[in-house]
């Protein structure tokens, strides 16, 4: 089998927004009657003008930073002209990296499960077109039915380099991307059709074929497998693969030559004169960074720098929730960070899984209380129970009568002298048990750990 090269253009709807990218229509278009979620802007009426959704820039910036991409200080919107009935202006407002334009961000990367790095060339904002329906089949329908409810929904497009070399890698890319997106609240899995991929596949160094509009990671894999074998068959028969655009047929699971829309060459890009350039200031980047807490890699590095071992660091950095708590504890009481890392990677991780916990409390003072008294909590079950209390938002107060080791030693000596006659002839174990009974009564079960330690010391001394 010859080598294949796969590059992806992933379109993601910014489902966390309340309005469209360039107008104030609701972003919640799913399930609404046709053409009820529209205005002069998103239907391209004469004289209407786009206005940029501020939050869309911030959300896109979040994704860009999560993908380790560099934002441009100034980026531009462009018009990309092609005629099609789902595109009300017959141009799409998008961003472009040529012709004097700059997209939102460039040169990021994403690491696959197998450790391979996939380069991300650029990330930009653009608008979704409307949707076309047909009565019966597209082939036999006498007219099309157009719904502009989706028209103008904010998308980001993530363009990778052709760095993937198997269908599995492409699937892994989409899956990992989906996780990263959900890290910043963009849960594409909850919104049908909110992640759509254009897949570029070339076999054995041949021309690249673009398969448009593949939805979801599993279909991406299937479409590439199909395309790989189609191109391989052609290659083996000596037929040249031509550069073309194909469509993915989800039902039949094949790609088909697509006709209709115009091709790349004549998009006639030009700057959108109605939208001033987008400026990404340092303070905006800082604000967004604070909201997302950096990439997994950043988090991992920080943990390692703190002296946390690799295993714990890996576990904590992979979950933003855990890492946030770690950071807060570190700020609250730096000396607790090692213990915090342990508890986060073990007990708290266990609880998150066990009770399907979505978020951890903002307030870490309860957790700090647990960590500070960790040594005197008698057993592991109690630790877990206290942690659960904290996660559930209950107040955590550890109110053991705590005693210093020095005090205990004095008390132990006193008890021994008071009971000297009774214990002098007992063997060590019995002696220990007898004294322990008195001590527990006096200091409480919760101090057992310390009592055991101290009693052992004392008995060893006087043996």
């Amino acid at each position: 089998m010859e080598e294949i090269k796969v590059g992806l253009e992933v379109h993601v709807q910014l489902v966390t927004l309340k309005t469209k990218l360039f107008c104030s229509c609701s972003s919640d278009y799913r399930g609404k009657p046709p053409n009820t979620n529209i205005c002069p802007v998103c239907t391209g009426l004469p004289g209407s003008m786009p206005t940029l959704n501020k939050k869309a820039v911030e959300e896109a910036l979040k994704v860009a930073l999560m993908l380790n991409a560099q934002p441009y200080e100034t980026s531009y919107f462009f018009r990309k002209t092609y005629f099609y009935p789902d595109l009300p202006k017959n141009f799409q407002i998008t961003q472009y990296d040529k012709a004097g334009g700059y997209p939102l961000a460039h040169d990021g990367y994403l690491k696959l499960s197998n450790g391979k790095t996939v380069r991300i060339e650029r990330i930009h904002l653009e608008e979704d077109p409307g949707r076309i329906y047909y009565e019966g089949s597209r082939a036999t329908a006498r007219y099309s039915l157009i719904d502009y409810n989706r028209s103008g929904i904010a998308l980001i497009e993530i363009v990778t380099a052709p760095d993937m070399s198997s269908p599995e890698e492409a699937r892994d890319f989409v899956e990992r991307l989906t996780t990263i997106l959900s890290d910043v609240g963009i849960n594409v899995k909850d919104y049908e059709g909110s992640l759509r991929v254009d897949v570029n596949v070339s076999y054995a160094g041949g021309e690249r074929v673009e398969v448009k509009n593949v939805t979801g990671a599993a279909s991406v894999e299937k479409a590439i497998i199909y395309e790989m074998f189609r191109q391989k068959t052609m290659y083996e028969k000596g037929i040249k693969v031509v550069r073309e655009t194909r469509a993915w047929d989800e039902k039949r699971r094949i790609t088909i030559a697509s006709r209709g829309k115009e091709f790349e060459a004549e998009y006639r890009y030009m700057p959108e004169p109605d939208l001033p350039p987008v400026t990404i200031t340092e303070s905006l980047i800082k604000k967004v960074k604070e909201e997302i807490g950096g990439s997994q890699e950043d988090r991992y590095r920080e943990l390692i720098n703190d002296g946390i071992n690799e295993e714990l660091a890996k576990k904590i950095s992979s979950d933003k929730n855990l890492f946030n708590v770690y950071e807060k504890i570190k700020f609250y009481e730096p000396s607790l960070k090692q213990l915090a890392a342990n508890v986060l990677a073990n007990e708290i991780s266990y609880l998150i899984k066990r009770y399907s916990i979505k978020t951890l409390p903002e307030d870490v003072s309860g957790l700090a209380e647990i960590l500070q008294n960790y040594r005197i909590i008698p057993d592991h079950e109690s630790v877990v129970a206290y942690l659960k209390k904290w996660i559930d938002g209950e107040k955590v107060k550890i109110s053991f009568k705590t005693v210093s080791a020095e005090n205990i030693q004095n008390d132990i000596m006193q008890i021994i002298s008071e009971n000297y006659e009774k214990i002098r002839n007992l063997e060590y174990n019995k002696k220990f048990e007898f004294l322990m009974g008195i001590l527990i009564k006096k200091f409480g079960k919760e101090n057992k750990k310390v009592l055991v330690e101290e009693l052992t010391k004392v008995l060893n001394k006087i043996k």
Binding site: L17, K18, T19, S24, C25, S26, S27, P33, P34, N35, T36, N37, I38, C39, P40, T43, L45, T51, L52, N53, K54, K55, A56, V57, Y76, F83, Y84, P85, A99, G100, G101, Y102, I132, Y133, Y134, R138, A139, A141, R142, Y143, S144, L145, I146, D147, Y148, R259, G260, E266, P271, P273, P276, P277
Partner: protein, 88 residues
Amino acid sequence: MKYSINKLSKLSMLKISKEEEKMIAKKVQALGELLEKLDAIEPPKEAFVLAPEGEHKRDDVPVEFDSDEIIKVFNEVKGRYLKGPKTL
């Protein structure tokens, strides 16, 4: 300067009648002559725009437009769908 009226009208999705053709060709020719002077200029790296100063972005707050008003503008509807040409 190389352009054919035929190719440009096709790219622009414009049908041009026989009667118009000569007049349009004359106009395109006249506009084309104006462009020739641009040869003397060095092209820039970045597009120049008359950008306004200050904040120009919109808050993410929904405002509903009466969509019935837009349905009234549409040429032909079926239910609330806009009827368009077949796309095959």
